[in-house]
């Protein structure tokens, strides 16, 4: 049956050929196979994709869905053990799926450009930026004098390009590096630009600037863009067409707005439902019993003190930066931050990298000492705690960290990991500890049979659930989530956020949620504190801050949420 469809589309392409609007890139029935020690693995099957000249098409999918592999095949840069095992990649009618290396070198740069994912590792640190642009220009036989290089860089939005061209990558910020990479990708005015997660390593406001600029440039040059992203909101906002990939297959493709408003495939439906950038309100807990549960909570000391579990007053942290021999300069990572956290609620601290939000978390956890200011926990100044009291404090405040690959000891199996806090605090005997671990695994929805497994056998989301179970082992009152869901795929992220919300309702937990992602804040937080360069710029309830932000910075952050301005019917959002 598929064969029949193929012939029909063949005819269509031929017709299109005559009428002069031939697709720039057409991927037909593509399959890509990797040879591994465990046998052949098919990473991509039945992939279809059409890009018309000047059009922007986005491939959306979770990690491992085959989206990057498909794009790499189009530019002939598959890893050595991977090969196109079936199907065609037609570039302007020419099948390049099995083109020679010589032909691909001709095409790369001139016809197909590429903006890679990680701006931190994709520039060669030992060459000047200008040289790396010049290299590209020269390889494609274009004029490569200093003025040409500077022009290419300034077109990508780098100010003072002549001077910048003489700098090395380490002198550039992440956003500037990404601009340099875009400059390299577009320097030879290719007809197709492949942008593989071009902004996922950057702050939201920078991401927005870069994408805006990329839009303008490609529109001016008439370049078609193949955008690869995990963010459905971003894809819908930037692309004319969206292609959704799942487990190596294209499951749905269509015009972006139509696809978002009327998703057909169950996977797309799931994606649309859980995309944080498209959601507009707080997660409603399935079991609405928050009040009763918090009544059952461990005896609260005083009625007066009970309300504000954490009070942070004029917190300051100054680091001394070494500058040569004996000289130091003071750098205030956190500067005069004050806020309160109400028991049983979620307070989010939002900010971009370098805003000092993680330093606040470390000080609340008593892992760093504040330079000035006080942190009151249940009305008690934590800086005055003796070491035995600090040990007790640790039972009540627990962290969950960002990197699910780094926060679990790889040498400990799941049982030992979750049991460790109980052992450290000498709670119960062996049998009762094992019972508790089983309960905790149930709470975070992991099978009890996973107890003997090691972290390297679990996915990121599963590890994060183990980290949550470990944090819950001591029945804490406050949990500090430092970017706890930032590294996870959208669906897994939604799952973990729901789990956190359920646990809050059932156990009356208080969360201090550190994140850079405003979209996530809207889903989980009651109160928001926005930080910029160590200072608190705005606080308030989540609804107030999202609906009527007072500060310019907050407005800029809110505007930068990809897909924020997309109008979706309420039943989808």
């Amino acid at each position: 049956m598929r064969d029949k469809k193929m012939t029909i589309s063949d005819v269509q392409v031929d017709e299109a050929d005559y009428s002069g609007i031939r697709p720039l890139l057409e991927i037909r029935d593509l399959a890509i196979t990797f040879k591994t020690s465990g046998g052949d693995v098919q990473a991509v099957r039945n992939a279809h994709l059409t890009i018309m000249p000047g059009e922007t098409v986005a491939i959306v999918g979770e990690s491992g869905s085959g989206k990057s592999t498909t794009a790499l095949a189009a530019i002939g840069l598959l890893p050595n053990n991977g090969a196109v095992s079936h199907g065609q990649i037609l570039l302007d009618g020419e099948d390049i799926a099995h083109a020679t290396e010589k032909r691909m070198i001709e095409l790369r740069g001139n016809t197909i450009g590429m903006v890679p994912q990680d701006p931190m590792s994709n520039l060669n640190p030992v060459w000047k930026i200008g040289y790396q642009v010049k290299e590209t220009l020269r390889a494609n036989g274009r004029p490569s004098g200093p003025d040409d290089v500077a022009q290419v860089l300034s077109e990508a939005g780098l100010p003072d390009a002549h001077r910048r061209a003489k700098q090395y990558p380490h002198e550039f910020s992440g956003g500037m590096r990404q601009r340099a990479l875009i400059a390299i990708g577009l320097s030879c005015q290719p007809r197709l630009l492949i942008a593989d997660e071009p902004t996922s390593a950057l702050d939201v406001t920078v991401q927005r600037q870069i994408l805006d600029h990329l839009d303008t440039m490609t529109t001016d040059l008439g370049t078609a863009v193949l955008l690869i992203t995990h963010d459905l909101g971003l894809a819908a906002e930037r692309a004319d067409k969206v292609v959704v990939m799942y487990r190596g297959q294209v499951v749905e493709a269509g015009p972006s707005l139509a696809l978002l408003q009327n998703p057909q495939h169950p996977y797309t439906k799931r994606l649309v439902e859980s995309a944080p950038s498209l959601a507009s309100r707080r997660i409603q807990v399935a079991r609405e019993q928050g009040l009763e549960a918090s009544d059952l909570l461990a005896p609260v000391a005083e009625a007066a003190a009970s309300d504000q579990v954490l009070q942070i007053q004029d917190l300051r942290k100054v680091y001394k930066l070494r500058q040569g021999l004996g000289k130091t300069t003071a750098f205030a990572a956190v500067d005069g931050v004050s806020f309160d956290v109400k028991r049983g609620t979620t307070t989010a601290i939002v900010g971009e990298s370098g805003s000092g939000k993680s330093t606040v978390a470390k000080m609340v956890l008593q892992l760093e000492k504040p330079t000035e200011g006080k942190i009151l926990f249940d009305g008690v100044d934590t800086s005055l705690l003796k070491s035995s009291e600090l040990f007790k404090f640790r039972r009540r405040v627990q962290p969950i960290f960002q990197d699910p690959y780094g926060s679990l000891d790889p040498m400990y199996n799941i049982y030992r990991t979750i049991e460790e806090p109980l052992r450290v605090h000498k709670i119960g005997d062996k049998a009762s500890r094992e019972k508790k671990v089983r309960e905790l695994l149930d709470q975070v929805a992991l099978p009890q049979s996973s107890m003997q497994r090691y972290p390297n056998e679990l996915s990121g989301g599963q590890r994060q659930r183990v980290a949550i179970a470990r944090a819950l082992a001591l029945d804490p009152e406050v949990i500090i989530c430092d970017e706890a869901v930032s590294a996870l795929d959208v669906l897994v992220q939604a799952q973990v956020l729901n789990l956190l919300a359920d646990l809050q309702a059932n156990l009356g937990l208080t969360y201090l949620f550190i994140t850079h992602d405003l979209a996530v804040v809207r889903q989980i937080a009651d109160h928001v504190c926005v930080m910029e360069k160590g200072k608190l710029v705005e606080t308030g309830s989540t609804n107030n801050v999202f609906e009527s932000p007072q500060q310019e910075y907050t407005k800029a952050l809110l505007n930068a949420i990809p897909g924020a301005k997309l109008m979706l019917p309420p039943e989808v959002a």
């Binding site: 018309m52 799931r270 962290p399």
Partner: protein, 314 residues
């Protein structure tokens, strides 16, 4: 272009929806060591070196299993530089002793010096390296400079000086050689340990353990050190071979093991005089030395590949 604007949906049965983030539960749990062992036992390099080392260990522990002739008994000058004969497969040395027996009995000294030196180096190097890497600050600086001092001493020169100290001049033994080698070789181990510890000490799981209330020393012992062990084990395996060579070198120069102890280094030195007439006298102890060292270095290579964190599945 109808195809351009059409809304394509894949048939549901082609890509059935899986539960989000389901746990793959079919395989047996894999710890780092189990995983490493599985990789190791498939490597011919490992199998070969492990078999050789097992054979060498047996020979070192029970030399009489292979040779009934004691190495220093029955040396008759009449047999000097004699060729192979019944019961004496490798022939005789210049002094008329049985080469086969001497080679077999020399294994013990080489292996014991190697193993004991590695144990000493591990104790000193890992302790110093871990403390320096974990606590940093002045302790790190002091230990690093101390290590640099020993690093700067050349092995042979250092050994000459130490063995001429009054304490050691009179009572040389296996332990003297072990002491000399350990004294000059621990900084290497300390550096590797320090580097591995520095890499691990800032990991989130260490911070998490501290937030649980574990003491700093507790996190070092329970979380940091076990995760820093892989490069240490690799280096220890490689150094075993290196130390055996060092012992042979020192014995060859006459500043190693005392005359009474059988050592390949001694025999190689003694065979110098007859290298032009009967080179095979030197060949046998030299070959034994090479095979031993090679097998430890091959083992080290195989272990390094198996413990390489980059090849671990995620």
């Amino acid at each position: 272009m109808t195809s351009n604007n059409s809304h394509f949906v894949a048939p549901m049965d082609e890509t059935p929806l899986l539960a989000t983030d389901a746990l793959k539960n079919e395989d047996a749990p894999l710890s780092l060591w189990v995983d490493a062992w599985r990789k190791l036992r498939r490597r011919p390099l490992f199998i070969m070196s492990a078999l050789l080392i097992m054979a060498l260990t047996v020979i070192a522990l029970f030399p009489s299993l292979l040779s009934t002739v004691a190495p220093n008994d029955g040396c008759e000058l009449a047999n000097s530089e004699g060729g192979p004969s019944a019961g004496h497969p490798f022939g005789f040395t210049f002094q008329g002793c049985d080469i086969y027996s001497r080679v077999v009995h020399g294994t013990q000294a080489s292996l014991s010096v190697g193993v004991l030196s590695v144990i000493c180096v591990l104790i000193v190097g890992v302790t110093f390296g871990a403390l320096a890497g974990f606590y940093g600050g002045w302790l790190d600086t002091v230990l690093a400079r101390l290590g640099d001092i020993f690093f700067a001493l050349p092995l042979i020169l250092g050994a000459l000086v130490i063995t001429q100290l009054p304490l050691f001049r009179t009572n040389k033994s296996v332990w003297t050689v072990v002491l000399v080698i350990s004294l000059l070789a621990w900084p290497q181990m300390a550096r590797i340990t320090r580097g591995a510890v520095v890499e691990v000490r800032n990991a989130d799981f260490v911070t998490a353990a501290r937030a649980l209330g574990l003491s700093r020393f507790g996190t070092l012992v329970k979380h940091v050190l076990p995760n820093a062990l892989a490069p240490v084990i690799v280096l220890a395996t490689l150094e075993l071979g290196v130390f055996i060579v060092a012992e042979a070198t020192l014995s060859f120069l006459g500043i190693g093991l005392p005359e009474g102890v059988m050592s390949w280094g001694h025999d190689i030195a003694a065979a110098q005089s007859s290298i032009r007439t009967t080179p095979e006298i030197m060949l046998y102890p030299a070959a034994a030395l090479s095979i031993t060292v090679l097998s430890f270095i091959m083992l080290g290579d195989a272990v390094r590949d198996a413990l390489d964190p980059k090849s671990r599945q995620r």
